[in-house]
Each structure stands twice: as structure tokens, then as C-alpha cells.
Symmetry: C2
Subunit: 400 residues, 2 copies
């Protein structure tokens, strides 16, 4: 018996959609049946690419009876409203990270989906990347003993890519804590079992022309005594893809001789409007279409250096697999190159809907990750340890 194709509607044809488009287009169990976006050119492109219905309002998309599930990839601040709309129409939901900008919003989204009796998955985040999932499986096998310490580091040019003004305003969900810690925390929680007890963090907001968090350091303490040290810089100086074999975040080959391109490009721009225009000039329906979204990845997605210290070995997820540093030998637990990059997030959604299997990345999971991110901001602001109370564990571990 084959699984019936999942009829998916897309809310928001922006950057999140473009990143997932290669996956959406290639996944055999997904059909794009509708989309909503305020930009007419994006809607026209969607019709051309998928011969599917389009709407200017997310509400109308959610009301479309053809749509079984909605992928909500609208700007962060609209996630709650759009999840509630989808729930009200009985749709399953995949909502982009960060789930929302407050715990109140996260809880409202969870409650709405519970009331509707539909599945909610939060993603894509990099914790869906195959190397982290494989490492998580290896940990669950108990072959390597308990997880004791996790180190995660990522140095990118995040802050100097073209941005809309709200992406540089923390109050509107801008900055690296909402956009990037949401990945790193999700990975670290996946590998550490999920339940963080308390957080101490410091954040860096150092460039007055990009007035939001561009860097952070954080120490996470888990319920079971394990701890994690996370460092992130989006200031476009050192590039930690060096520690991932010069494979990029999306699995693409990087050229270490290319340096400073993000800042160089920005240097030619003279206003926030011009910058936003540049960003919008390369978006779906405006220069980009299905044709630009063929998977070019040669290795798995990653989010920088991650080392998980277990009793019996250190595990290091890499774009080609998981390097195991055991007591007496070191070896790669290999992963086949991805045929459909990022398919894991859709597989989790489909498995939940078709087989009624609880996903890892539930609303509760996403809320727990946001609780850590918000605690990082609070800890940095007030210079103190912040205790957490909304943490959840991994399915099947009895610690949910």
C-alpha cells in the first residue's frame, strides 16, 4: 500500500520557502496544491510552476478544502496568527523556526492545534540534518554511554547578508538568537536529550549599523547533569566551515580562498531601503523560480562544529557522517549523500499525519527551544542564570 501524497499549502513564498523548495519539489509524497503571499509576482510564479491555486491572504489558503497541511513560512511575528488560522480550518501544520517570539504565542499555537486534533511540526531547523539525527540514534543505542558534554560553535556571515529592517531588530525577532540559536539550541537539545534545566548566556550587539545580537556564548545545564557550551558569531570574520571540510551550511562546496564577500556586497549599498530591495530582488517570483531550486548539495546540511562527549566516545557530526572518537580507534560512521536534501522535516510531518507517530519536533519541542533562546536573551540582559520550566525530552525515552 503506498502512502497517499500529502497535499500541502504554502503560507509565505519568501526565503524559508526558497530554502525548502528543492525538497518540496523533489519529495515523492508531497504535492503543492496552493500558496498564499501578498506579492502578486510570487503568486504568478507559483501558478506557473505548480498549476496551483494562490491567495493573497493566508486565511483563504487555510480555507481551501484541497489543502491538507499548511507550511507556514511567513515572517516570525505572524506565526501564531497563521497557525491559529490553519488550526481553525482543521489543517495539519509545519511552522518555520523560530516557532514564535514569545512563550505565550507558542502555547497558544500548541493549544490551537490540540483543540483541532491536528499535528504540529516545527521546522525546518538544522536539528533535522541527517548527521545530527544519526548521532542522536547512535546515542539512543547506548553503545557510547551517557552524553556528558556538548560543544557547538558556528562562525558565519549571518549579520552581513542583505536584511530587511525587522531582521535587525530583536523586538521583531531579528538577530542571531532568534534566527540562529533556534538552530543550535535545537541541535544541542536533540543530542542532550531535550531537557535543559538552566541557561547562562552573553550576547554581542557590537555594530551600530546592524543593531541586534550578532553573536553569543551560552552555557546550558541539562536536567541529568550534562552541559553544553555554545558559541555563535555572525560577524563575517572567521568562518567555521573550515571545521566542516569547507562544506557549507547547505552542503555546498565552499571556496576557502573566497573571503569577505558578504561585507563586500553590502559595502556597495547605501540605505536600508536599498538593502531590502536587494534582498527582494532575489526572491521567489522576482528573479527566482522552481528552475533555480534544483538541489546542488553534495553533502549534508550542517550548522558548524558540534562535538558530543559521551562516556565511551566523542561523536562529531560532519557533512559526510558522524566521526567517532572512541577509546582506542577513530572512524567515520558514514552517511550516503542526500538524494533529497532536508527531506527529514517533511518525512517527520508525513509520518505523523499518515502513521499517527508523534514527531520529535512537536509544538512542545519547539516551545522548549524557544524557551532556551528567550532565556539566553534574558540571561544576557540581566547577567544571571535563568531557570527553565517548559522543557520536554525525546519521544521514546520516557522523559517527555
Amino acid at each position: 500500500m503506498t502512502t497517499p501524497v500529502l497535499k500541502l499549502g504554502i503560507a509565505g513564498l519568501g526565503r524559508g520557502f526558497m530554502l525548502l523548495l528543492p525538497t518540496l519539489a523533489a519529495h515523492p509524497d508531497i504535492r503543492l496544491v496552493a500558496a498564499a503571499d501578498p506579492r502578486e509576482q510570487a503568486r504568478r510564479q507559483f501558478t506557473a510552476d505548480f498549476s496551483a491555486a494562490t491567495y493573497s491572504d493566508v486565511a483563504d489558503l487555510c480555507a481551501d478544502p484541497e489543502v491538507e497541511a499548511v507550511y507556514i513560512a511567513t515572517p516570525h511575528q505572524f506565526h501564531r496568527e497563521h497557525v491559529e488560522l490553519a488550526a481553525a480550518h482543521g489543517k495539519h501544520v509545519l511552522v518555520e523556526k523560530p516557532m514564535a517570539l514569545s512563550l505565550e504565542d507558542c502555547q497558544a499555537m500548541i493549544d490551537a492545534m490540540h483543540r483541532a486534533g491536528r499535528w504540529l511540526v516545527v521546522g525546518h531547523s538544522h536539528s533535522f540534518d541527517a548527521p545530527y539525527l544519526r548521532a542522536s540514534d547512535m546515542i539512543a543505542s547506548q553503545d557510547f554511554g551517557a552524553v556528558r558534554m556538548i560543544h557547538a560553535l558556528n562562525y558565519t556571515d549571518f549579520l552581513y547578508r542583505p536584511r530587511r529592517p525587522e531582521e535587525l531588530d530583536t523586538d521583531q525577532g531579528g538577530g542571531v538568537v532568534f534566527s540562529q540559536a533556534a538552530h543550535q539550541v535545537d541541535i544541542v537539545r536533540l543530542l542532550g536529550g531535550g531537557r535543559v534545566r538552566s541557561v547562562r548566556a552573553a550576547t554581542g550587539n557590537w555594530d551600530p549599523s546592524r543593531p541586534t545580537e550578532g553573536a553569543y556564548g551560552a552555557l546550558l545545564n541539562f536536567d541529568d547533569g550534562a552541559f553544553a557550551n555554545m558559541t555563535y558569531s555572525g560577524f563575517a570574520h572567521f568562518d567555521s566551515d573550515e571545521f566542516c571540510g569547507w562544506s557549507g551550511e547547505l552542503g555546498q562546496p565552499r571556496d576557502p580562498q573566497q573571503y569577505g564577500s558578504a561585507r563586500a556586497k553590502l559595502a556597495s549599498i547605501h540605505s536600508a531601503e536599498e538593502e531590502a530591495a536587494l534582498k527582494n530582488s532575489r526572491t521567489y517570483g522576482a528573479g527566482l523560480s522552481l528552475d533555480n531550486s534544483k538541489p546542488q548539495d553534495s553533502a549534508h546540511n550542517h550548522f558548524g562544529l558540534v562535538i558530543v562527549s559521551c562516556d565511551e566516545a566523542d561523536l562529531r557530526p560532519l557533512p559526510q557522517g558522524v566521526e567517532v572518537y572512541a577509546h582506542t580507534r577513530r572512524y567515520l560512521e558514514p552517511l550516503s549523500p542526500p538524494e533529497i536534501p532536508r527531506r527529514e522535516v517533511l518525512d517527520e510531518l508525513i509520518t505523523a499525519i499518515r502513521h499517527d507517530r508523534r514527531p520529535v519536533h512537536t509544538g512542545e519541542w519547539g516551545m522548549a527551544t524557544m524557551e532556551v533562546c528567550l532565556a539566553m536573551l534574558e540571561s544576557a540582559r540581566h547577567g544571571r542564570e535563568v531557570s527553565l520550566s517548559h522543557q520536554v525530552g525525546l519521544p521514546g525515552t520516557g522523559t517527555l
Copy 2:
């Protein structure tokens, strides 16, 4: 006018002395005139190597009128007593890290040296390594703007090298916080300006057969708002010399194909006595002598990955120099290979004594580093932020 040679006496002919012996033997401005050690074979070897006086008691070494300065490399727990002896006899002192195991002892050592009117330098620590000193000079030049964030990481086999029982007992100064954080904190303080305001840390004591801290993660907040994230593992799994071009802690070339040698060697040992005997079988006077101490280093000493994020660039001290990741270009600020490895610690001592120039690594500096290390242990034990009150800045910055 040439500087008169410094007549140095050695208190303790153990591991610290062996590590510094290539430097002591090669430095043109140092002459070894006496030594003290309880082991007769060590004393005999010293006489053979240096035609110099030897004593079984440090007190007698300190009373020797030939001795101008004493290098105190006895076990940690004797540092205070031996510094006080040297001070009582009007000698200058170089005392090994960790300076002492309590702030009370550190203060007593500082007071004794002040009363004696003699110089006290604390080292060798890796913060004397030329790449960190060069990075510190580059920061002081203000060419790169303010220091904002420091990341330091080191994964070694520290815990599985042959140890005496007290080296595995935290109360006696064992474990990686006293022995290894003393390096890493010293480096981070040097690069961050010295004044740490508060510390949050977690430590790992995971192997019942090595019952002391083998790992830690720590977040340090500096007075000026900068912060540092430090991670250390001595559990002999992942090896971070990979991030230093496979150059080892002492600048020696490493073979990445060699793996697990520390644990393999230890696996053939069946008791603490046997392990201590193994350690003692390769020590000065017992298998080792001046002949075994020729400098073999091809690059500078280092202490793992260090990245200093400044406003204008990330600086990454490496065994060959300091890699600069600036806005638009990346380049190596090169260092000549060391002619005399670790000479910087002796140069600082000699410059203080001969030119009356205040060293960086004063007793107050060493005490501030120990305050951070002790705060790390306290923070980990009680799960809370620990505030500091004995911090000092760098000379010449007006923040002493």
C-alpha cells in the same frame, strides 16, 4: 652593556623542570647554579649536567648566597611554603602554575614577596606563548578595535597520561581546572584585558577510575562587557590539535594517524603504584637528563583553538603566527619559529629583575587567574554565577 647572567636555583626537578629545561639550558642570560630535590638521583644528575650545588631541602637552596632567583616547580601544594622561604632569603621567584590552591595562599605569597622587595613571576603558563603575546600586542595597538568575545577550546588526553594519585584528587590540586584551566584562563585573561567580573562553569567528573575533573565548560564575563566561552576535555577522545595544523602543545609535529596512545599505554597498568612508578621512570635523573632536553619544537607552543573577536577582525593565534580575519581580507601575521622555546617566561623574569619593569604575570595576576579557576569549581558545585573581586588588568592599560 650586556645584562649580567641571572643565577637561578631550581626547587623541584620534576615534570615542570623537564618542560622548562630546554629553555633554561639554551637561554643566554640564565645560569643554573643550584637545585633542590628530595630524590638523590635527580640531584646527582643535576650535578653531572650543571656542575652546580644541590640540596635535598628547598630551605637550603634558598639560603645559598649564589642563588639570585628561585624557580619553584615543586608540587602545587608546596608553592606557598617555598615562595615564603625564597622571600625570607631575599630571592626573586618564578613559581609554576597553578600559583597555589587557595586565594589565601596566593595572598600570602604576594605579601611575602612584597615584604622582601623582590619580583614574583607566575609561570610558565601558555599565556607566555608567542602567538598569544603577539595577539595581545595586536589588540593593544587598537588596530582591530575592542575585544568583544573570546572562544577557547582544547581537547587533549590529559586525564589518561600517567599520574600520581594526588594529580587525580581535586583537593590536592588535581584535575583539569587546576592544571589546565590555569593555562586557558591565563590566555583568555591576557587577551580579554585581565578583569573578569563573574564566572559560570560546569565541570565533568565522569570516569570513576580517574575521580577528578576531566572536562569543563565556562562562560566568563569581563568588566568591560566582553565575554569568553571556554571548553576543555582531557578525556582522550577528539583531539583539537587538528585545529592547530596538527602541531602539538609543545610545537612538535603530531601524527593524526596515531590515535589512542595514552589510553593504550595506560591499559597495560594495573595499579596506582604502577602508574606512579611509570611516571617516575621517565623523570629527571631516572632515564632523563640534559641530553633529553634539546629543543625539538618546530613551531610555537599552543593551548588549542583560540579565537578573539574584535570589532574589526577575528584574531586566531596559531603555532606559526596570528591569523587575522578582517572585514575584507584574511592574512597571517607571521612569527619566526622559536629559537629558544618558552623563553618568554624567563625574559619576563629577567626584565623585571634587571630593568625593574613590572611583569604581566605578577603574583596579583596569578592570583586573579586562580580566582577564576576556583570560581569555576564553585560555580559548578553550586550551579550558580560567581562574582570575582581580585582581578587585575594588564600593565600600561591604566586598569591595574
